[in-house]
């Protein structure tokens, strides 16, 4: 099973090597990568027999097991289905990109990111550890950011890339939280453990919050309402990216996860309520807005939203029929949507526009392409003999038979299908058929790679549509089994009798044709409809998004200005207030004030000394003469020296005197060069500052008092006194502590002095004074 890991690693290595390819090969890198994809695809094809026998392969590598983080690669029906899509469509997309990107610079970057993305996507669908899956998930998010912003000098592209990044990143965070929350219920992030412990998860209290968090992640990635709006924006990306990421792979990552988690989390009331609800809304929103678009890629984007809605809806209904339909539709949609995106890119390249009102009659200039497009559109519309028809039938069946609020789903599904049919027809008639507005000349050979991708996809779609059984047995059934977690029999047939569902299909076609006829015939209807939309739905989500971000930034700016106002004093004030408040709180909480205050005036000369110091301090505070302030500050210092002296600290007293002298001298040195005091603060400020100071000062006093009264252990200094003479040969214990017991402190202290001295000299000696 190691090949699975190696395969993913190979993708990454290959991506890195793009930059060092020799020039001659470099220009063919698209084809080269297509071969790599092809090899991977074939490898997966060979795994089909294994999987269709309902077996699976698991590769387990320990990584950080304590965190529940291991490499678990799982190949079963579900992951194989997706892996085939990723690699299979990958082959065609890279061939297509090879031609498409020829006219741009820096294609190495493009192929690098696209291939990396391909590897990440493959890693994602093969992951059986949810954290590992999340890692790949985030990689796809980031890589899609780079790919969407490929035309980085266009502001729109940057905006769209940023938007999709933020939305999906937000969803990613939510997903991560959800995984962790649910993971803690079974103490594992392995999907197998989750499935095994499904009952435990569903009965735990973390189920609902975890489910919602995970669903948010799924919905952002798979562009579900109300997060769908990033997807049309992402059409700023080059066409291969749209074809690959935004139709076949990345947006399906959410669907994949939903399918993966379905056996572990699905089937509950919450699941069958929330998931279909958002699926239905998304489905309707997608088809409704698709119909009034005139940009070809925007139409495709909205129809993609519709399709994603359908997929989520089907997975949410959670019956064997609906899941079968979902798996089938997954392929159908990938086939026709990828080809349509490629064709859209082709058209834009050749005609210079994507506006469908400016196009028309392309069948005359590009007959082959148009034929392919025709088939793809038929599939999208759900007409026979395409695979799309099969899918639509099955979906109708699933909807009709869905439990719960089935009838509602059924009605909305019908509306949505009518709209989809109309959109397909509108595109078909406006772009490919009808009157040609312009003729384009094309050289035949250059287009090969442009056309080959869509052609193959459509062909597959056609072939499977006619003879679906093998495909159903080999691919659809194993995947369905995994999702449904019990065996499901998949029998597919193009024609399955004249029944209720067929009637529905006919009704869809009839209504859809009428709608598209009106739209094509009367342009004014479309314009009016657009106007109607803008008045009825005035909220433009992308704009809302931008506005939200902007107003948040504005909010941040204003708040930051308030906090970081620049007034130095208030910074100090806030720190002091914070400290004082915490201190008082603690003093109250620990009842530190209850013990006696040893308030004595003995010995009286010390009291006198203290009194003098206080007076000096006070004088220094209030005086308006600078020299007086400094000198009284000196008095405070000398007074303290006397206190030290009285309380048996001779060295300390001497040091205090000398350093105080030094400081006063320094002050005097620069004093005459500094301005005199001026009255700067108002009275109110002074009073406020005074109150704060007193609060802080009293807190410190109480703290000190407390300290004197608490003694938890006898001090270690007795050791010093006992050993100072015997072992360190010194009578002055203080000095012995300084130079021997705690010499390291003194070393640091000397260093501080040296740094300060050198620093002062650096500051004040200057060859060229800059200002």
């Amino acid at each position: 099973m190691l090949p699975m890991l190696n395969l993913v690693i190979l993708y990454f290595l290959f991506a890195l090597s793009i930059f060092i390819l020799p020039k001659a090969i470099k220009s063919q890198k698209g084809i080269l990568i297509a071969f790599l994809q092809m090899a991977a695809f074939v490898w997966f094809v060979f795994k089909v027999p294994l999987v269709s026998a309902n077996n699976s392969e698991l590769l387990f590598l320990k990584w950080i097991p304590e965190l529940g983080l291991n490499f678990e690669f799982l190949l079963d029906g579900l992951s194989l289905a997706f892996a085939l899509l990723v690699t299979g469509v990958g082959v065609l997309v890279f061939l297509y990109a090879h031609s498409y990107m020829k006219s741009y610079d820096n294609t190495a970057k493009f192929f690098f990111f696209l291939l990396l993305f391909s590897g990440a996507m493959l890693g994602l669908v093969l992951s059986a550890n949810l954290i590992q899956l999340f890692i790949f998930w985030e990689l796809t998010t980031v890589l899609s950011f780079f790919l969407i912003s490929f035309f980085n000098e266009k502001e729109l592209a940057r905006k769209a890339a940023f938007q999709s990044l933020v939305i999906t990143f937000l969803g990613g965070l939510s997903l991560l939280a959800g995984i962790i929350v649910i993971g803690s219920a079974v103490d594992s992030y392995s999907i197998n453990d989750w499935v095994a412990g499904a009952d435990k998860i569903k009965s735990s209290s973390s189920y609902v919050p975890g489910l919602i968090l995970i669903l948010i992640g799924v919905f952002t990635k798979s562009a579900q309402f109300p997060f769908h709006f990033w997807l049309p924006g992402a059409m700023q990306a080059p066409a291969p990216v749209s074809a690959y990421l935004h139709s076949a792979t990345m947006v399906k990552a959410g669907v994949f996860l939903l399918a993966r988690l379905s056996p572990a989390l699905g089937g509950t009331d919450e699941w069958t309520f929330i998931v279909p609800l958002f699926g239905v809304i998304t489905m309707l929103v997608g088809s409704y807005f698709a119909i009034t678009q005139t940009d070809l890629k925007a139409i495709l984007a909205y129809t993609t939203i519709n399709a994603l809605g359908v997929l989520v809806l089907l997975l949410g209904i959670d019956t064997n029929l609906s899941i079968k339909a979902a798996v089938l539709f997954l392929f159908i949609h990938a086939f026709y949507k990828a080809s349509l995106f490629m064709i859209a890119g082709f058209i834009e390249k050749k005609t210079g526009t994507r506006e469908i009102n400016e196009l028309g009659g392309l069948i005359k200039s590009f007959p082959i392409t148009s034929a392919i497009a025709l088939l793809a559109l038929l599939s999208m519309a759900g007409l026979p003999p395409m695979l799309g028809f099969l899918g639509k039938e099955l979906i109708y069946e699933a909807k009709v038979q869905s439990p719960g609020f089935g009838s509602m789903i059924f009605i909305f599904g019908f509306i949505s299908n009518v709209l989809m049919f109309a959109v397909s027809m509108k595109v078909l008639f406006k772009v490919f058929l009808g009157k040609a507005k312009k003729t384009y000349t094309v050289s035949r050979f250059k287009n090969t790679f442009f056309v080959i991708g869509p052609a193959i996809l459509v062909l597959i779609s056609l072939v499977i549509g006619i003879a679906p059984n093998l495909f159903g047995k080999w691919i659809i059934e194993p995947a369905t089994n995994v999702i449904y977690a019990s065996p499901v029999n998949v029998e597919l047939a193009l024609w399955h009798g004249f029944n209720q569902v067929l009637l529905l299909s006919i009704a869809t076609v009839v209504l859809g044709s009428m709608l598209s006829y009106i739209l094509i015939k009367y342009n004014r209807v479309e314009v009016l409809w657009q106007k109607f939309n803008t008045t009825v739905f005035p909220v433009n989500l992308p704009e809302l998004f931008t506005k939200t971000i902007e107003s948040f930034v504005a909010f941040s700016v204003s708040k930051t200005k308030i906090l970081q106002h620049g007034y130095h004093r208030y910074y100090i004030l806030s720190i002091i207030v914070f400290t004082a408040v915490l201190l008082w709180v603690q003093l109250f909480v620990t009842k530190g004030w209850q013990f006696e205050i040893p308030f004595t005036f003995k010995p009286f000369y010390i009291s006198g000394l203290v009194f003098i110091i206080m007076l000096a301090t006070l004088f220094s505070v209030i005086t308006r003469s600078r020299i007086a302030a400094i000198l009284s500050m000196g008095v405070t210092g000398y007074g303290m020296a006397l206190i030290f002296l009285y309380y048996s600290a001779v060295d300390l007293a001497i040091t205090q005197i000398l350093s105080e002298t030094l400081i006063v001298v320094m002050f005097m040195l620069i004093l005459q060069r500094l301005p005199t005091f001026t009255k700067l603060s108002s009275k109110a400020t002074k009073i406020r500052d005074l109150i704060v100071s007193i609060i802080f000062g009293t807190a410190m006093t109480l703290v000190t008092l407390k300290a004197i009264n608490v003694n938890l252990s006898s001090p270690i200094s007795e050791f010093f006194m006992q050993n100072s003479f015997q072992k360190a040969f010194g009578e002055n214990v203080v000095n012995v502590i300084l130079v021997d017991f705690r010499a390291l402190d003194t070393l640091g202290e000397a260093t501080v002095l040296v740094i300060a001295a050198v620093g002062v000299s650096v500051l004040l000696f200057s060859k060229k004074s800059k200002s």
């Binding site: 929350v181 910074y571 909480v589 270690i716 017991f741 040296v754 740094i755 200057s766 800059k770 200002s771």
Partner: protein, 496 residues
């Protein structure tokens, strides 16, 4: 031979030699080579720790708790290794990016004293000694921040200095109270006394003083104001040096003190830590989002990320503390990387203003790659280092039931991403603005890329080898949560 003291003595010797010999050529060699020597010693000590367990050295031969003891446990060793890597990088960075107004050998003198103070703080096992090293580090940083002597540097320096000095005083006051109450300064001895005494809750007042003192150094809310006021003023080399190291020393002491000493009234401390952590994250992140100058964005960003580290401490499970340690290590590397990148951008474009620059993605793809790695690492995007740190913290938070703070941490991730993408969009993706079209870009030579390359590689490697980093941080956390091992190693020769 017990060489635990070498991380201290090497920078000390180097600083002395730079004081005595003042030729710039010597500085040019001594700087990077000396830093590299520290790095090697740190690595050696780390490997030694893995085989021999906690390393201790009684300075002066006086047994703990009487003399000063140097201790290297996992936390110290990890901090040492990563910080000395940062030293190497910054010493290389300085060679190319220091401007003429700062003499190279002077810079390296303060650089090494800073390193000495920082290493001392990491390895000392004595609270007063810690204070001394803090001061060594601080005064070095004071000098460094004002070295260019430009107006805004002096201004930033004054704010930086004033607020940090208050922190120092509170620290010292807390120390005095601690000694007054317990009669010892040795960390292990203190921990032993405080853990076995039910009166120890009375220590909370000194705890507050430490909280504020370290809070100022680590720049947490509401004590962080000095950081954004000053970090963007000095030469980018100096900012980078500070950004990677200084606040993290504060975080280190936070972790050390609040796991060893103040464990009696846990709900109070942990709530206090969590509340401040939440505000720190959000306010820092918001402020980072509101600027258009790379250094300011990144400065606020430091604050925001400090919140995560404090949050890990506040959750106080082994996983959370391991997460905090992991986050700190990752952040030192990635944050330094981001600052180095901003310095490179500024060297090319001549400004830090995002609105005046652009087009670097096209012109300098190498720089783009080197920038985006630390940027995404900071945003916590897997599989880079930041993801694992964040994952550990979030997992710990959810499992411990701290839902609110964890949600805040998650959402702050968006702010981080936003500010990183802003730099990316503006400096790299956007075209050079038209009004700046005439400007000529400075070409960078290969040594200019070297520091950032080292850091980006380190960040990637930290992600790839997350498993081993994780086990180290887990070791560190276990040692911190259950400090009896620490206490016993230090006090092995304690006299009766």
């Amino acid at each position: 031979m017990n060489i635990v003291a070498l991380p201290l003595l090497i920078p000390f010797a180097l600083a002395i030699s730079l004081l005595l010999f003042r030729s710039p050529t010597i500085g040019r060699w001594v700087g990077p080579l000396g830093s590299f020597a520290i790095f090697i010693v740190s690595l050696y000590l780390f490997s030694n720790l893995q085989t021999n367990g906690i390393l201790t050295l009684n300075m002066g031969g006086w047994d703990a708790p009487f003399g000063i003891v140097l201790v290297i446990d996992y936390l110290s060793a990890l901090m040492l290794v990563v910080s000395s890597l940062i030293l190497v990088v910054v010493s290389l960075f300085a060679l190319r990016f220091l401007t003429d107004d700062i003499p190279l050998n002077r810079f390296y003198f303060f650089f090494f004293t800073l390193a000495m103070g920082m290493n001392g703080a990491f390895i000392t096992g004595d609270v007063f000694n810690l204070y001394v090293w803090f001061e060594v580090m601080l005064i070095s940083s004071f000098v460094l921040i004002t070295m260019g002597k430009k107006k805004e540097q002096l201004e930033g320096g004054i704010k930086y200095l004033a607020l940090n000095l208050i922190g120092s005083f509170l620290f010292l006051a807390g120390l005095g109270l601690l000694y007054g109450k317990t009669g010892t300064l040795n960390m292990a001895h203190l921990a032993e006394i405080l853990r076995n005494d039910n009166q120890a809750v009375l220590m909370n007042t000194s705890g507050i003083l430490f909280f504020v003192a370290f809070g100022i150094k680590a720049a947490i809310f509401p004590l962080y104001f000095w950081l954004p006021a000053s970090y963007h003023t000095p030469n980018i080399t100096i900012t980078t040096l500070f950004a990677g190291l200084l606040t993290k020393v504060g975080v280190y002491t936070f972790i050390r003190f609040f796991t060893l000493f103040f464990v009696q009234d846990q709900p109070f401390w942990h709530n206090l830590l969590l509340i401040t952590a939440g505000f720190t994250m959000v306010i820092g992140g918001m402020a980072a989002a509101s600027y258009y100058e790379t250094r300011r964005i990144l400065s606020y960003h430091i604050i925001s990320q400090i919140g995560y580290m404090i949050m890990g401490l506040g959750i106080f499970t082994p996983l959370a503390i391991a997460g905090a340690v992991f986050f700190t290590l990752h952040n030192m590397i990635a944050k330094t990387g981001a600052f180095v990148a901003s310095g490179m951008i500024a060297k090319i474009k001549g400004t830090y203003q995002l609105k005046e620059i652009g087009g670097l993605y096209k012109d300098n793809p190498l720089l783009a790659v080197l920038f985006i790695i630390p940027a995404f690492a900071l945003a916590g995007i897997p599989p880079l280092s930041g993801f694992f740190a964040k994952f550990m913290l979030i997992k710990a938070g959810f499992e411990n039931g701290n839902y609110i703070i964890t949600a805040v941490a998650l959402l702050t991730g968006i702010l981080t991403l936003y500010s990183m993408i802003k730099i990316w969009n503006e400096a790299f993706l956007k075209k050079q603005p038209d009004n700046q079209a005439g400007k000529v870009d400075v070409k960078l030579a290969w040594p200019d890329y070297l520091p950032l390359t080292i850091l980006a590689t380190a960040s990637v490697l930290m992600g790839i080898f997350a498993a081993s980093v994780f086990s180290y941080t887990m070791e560190a956390a276990n040692q911190l949560i259950e400090p009896s091992h620490y206490i016993n190693s230090v006090l092995k020769n304690k006299m009766p």
